[in-house]
Amino acid sequence: MTVIEARGLRKTFGATVALSALDLRVESGRILGLVGPNGAGKTTALNAILGLIPYQGQLKVLGRDPWTERDHLMRDVCFIADVAVLPRWIRVSQALDYVAGVHPRFDRAKAEALLAKTTIARDRKVRELSKGMVAQLHLALVMAIDARLLVLDEPTLGLDILFRKQFYDSLLNDYFDRDRTILVTTHQVDEIQDVLTDVMFIDRGRIVFSSTMEEFESRYVELIVNPENAAAARALAPIHERQVLGRTIFLFDLMTLHNIDRPQLAALGDLRSPGIADLFVALLGNPSTPPQPAAKTGAAK
């Protein structure tokens, strides 16, 4: 079952192109990480998917057009935006009442149970809660909704590592199942590498890399070599290299190296799986394609 399908999705803000012919397909039961530099079009893409902005091209989310059917779509889609968006004046109990009032798929008992694990008091106003508590509250509200697609745009921005870890643990253990789909963007991509089933890189308004995590792990490998073997490793055409503490780390794309396999590389040094961030830097940050200056403003991020 396809949850999101975009073809030739395009969005411009004046003369700035935020999305240029973006193609995207997300099946249900996946946890997709959307990774890209600032201004690459991540938030614009998410906004289009959530029906917050008009767009050109084809886009269907759960079979609906998000722009014209946002209110219907939101019965099956939840999102947490990249900033604290819970209104500061609302009380925790009021937030529960309101969501229970307007959302037919909200399970209040579940939200109460999730909140019971936190120290958030029901009579508190959002403005009296810490940043981490606001994130916990928002997550509790969202997780109690029986939605099919959850969109998270930098959900843990500004939270400390303990909260971030808790946030994703909670999401995986108490929420995710085969019928749900999660689309997440974050700059702390290495932290959620184990959580993801799929990863996509977005740059200058288009998807430049797309892979499942299994594919990713079998296709890319990092080789850490001592200086004496550096030249030999370099001859095998790595896609990226960097220096760490006197040793050189080469990133290989095994799919393009037909005559080389892991044991051959292992003979030169230590092998390990690269992080998503390493590949991201290799693909988008290498000198031949200098990082694009932030190509747009306001609405994108």
Binding site: D71, H72, A81, V102, P104, A109, A121
Partner: protein, 324 residues
């Protein structure tokens, strides 16, 4: 904090465990509207606190200043006149307060949610932009008038009761006070005035303010007021006429002569907030009220068409606006 839902067994997840009362069945289309209006009252408590505070203050003023003066005279007509004038003052104060609250509310309604970015939260829920805009429009057009009527009628009763208590306490007959104070008629007149002038006649103003609050990035009040002022000033400079200003005054003060039939024996043509005092003063009978004439005023229907157009534009803006 325990809510009734805490005791709900987990085996009924489909049952939305709303607190307090469930006014409508779970999937009713009016349910998001009902909760959106409640949400507005949570956020803007001045909607009911301000009129309540004004009512309380004027009630204290009544007890301290007027009650003694009114009851010290033995002339029943004079006594009634004093009480009535105080009541007129109270009702004008409450009406003026809700009027001002309505203006401030409308100018902020669709601006604050963009300012604090909470629009992203509201839009993550299955509530349409139409429902949201209508729920916000209902505050100045339904909720505030309702508060005005309820509060004013309650004040009338309290003041009459207090006067009677004092009269009876001093061994006088309170019956004349009641027989000559047409409670029901005053209440109905008030209701009529609010529906015709404050709701139907003023609706385009509120719709305009909501539109500007959805559109302006800052200085909502200026954006709402300046274009209107500019038209009047330009007209005065270029043509040296005041048609627009006259039109504006007509739209603001209400079609009182139409609504109330022949301009009765009332004294002066006061502003909107004061007009009820004339009504209460001069019209203890409903005979001068002329709904047919009001309903056939072209300005009423033109105004309502403009209101619908402005609200439609507001819905459209709310749909495409992002946080500030």
């Amino acid at each position: 904090m325990t809510t009734p839902s805490n005791s709900m067994p987990n085996s009924f997840p489909a049952q939305p465990a709303a607190p307090n009362s469930v006014p409508t069945p779970p999937d009713s289309p009016t349910r998001p509207f009902y909760w959106s209006v409640r949400r507005e009252l949570w956020e803007n408590r001045s909607i009911y606190l301000a009129p309540l505070a004004v009512a309380a203050v004027t009630l204290v003023g009544f007890v301290v200043a007027t009650l003694g003066r009114a009851l010290s005279t033995s002339d029943i007509a004079h006594r009634r006149a004093i009480l009535e004038s105080h009541f007129n003052f109270v009702s004008a104060m409450i009406m003026g307060t809700t009027f001002v609250v309505g203006i401030f509310y409308s100018l902020d309604a669709l601006h604050s949610e963009r300012r604090d970015r909470s629009i992203l939260f509201w839009k993550s829920l299955p509530v349409s932009d139409l429902t949201t805009v209508l729920s916000k429009a209902s505050i100045p057009l339904l909720v505030l008038p309702a508060i005005t009527v309820i509060l004013t009628v309650a004040m009338l009763w309290i003041m009459l009761l207090l006067s009677s208590l004092v009269l009876v306490g001093s061994g006088l007959n309170a019956a004349t006070l009641w027989s000559q104070s047409p409670l029901l008629q005053i209440s109905l007149l008030l209701l009529y005035h609010l529906i015709t002038v404050h709701i139907l006649w003023h609706a385009p103003f509120y719709a305009w303010m909501l539109l500007v609050s959805a559109w302006a990035r800052r200085a909502v009040f200026l954006w709402a007021a300046l274009p209107i002022a500019a038209i009047g000033i330009l007209e005065k400079i270029i043509f040296n006429t005041t048609h627009f200003a006259n039109f504006l005054e007509y739209r603001l003060s209400g079609p009182e002569p139409y609504a109330m039939g022949a301009p009765s024996n009332s004294m002066s043509q006061g502003p909107a907030a004061g007009s009820i005092s004339q009504g209460a003063h001069s019209m203890h009978t409903m005979s001068t009220v002329d709904p047919a004439k009001f309903l056939t005023t072209p300005g009423l229907w033109l105004g309502l068409i403009v209101t619908v157009a402005l609200l439609a534009a507001t819905v459209h803006l709310r749909r495409s606006q992002s946080p500030l």
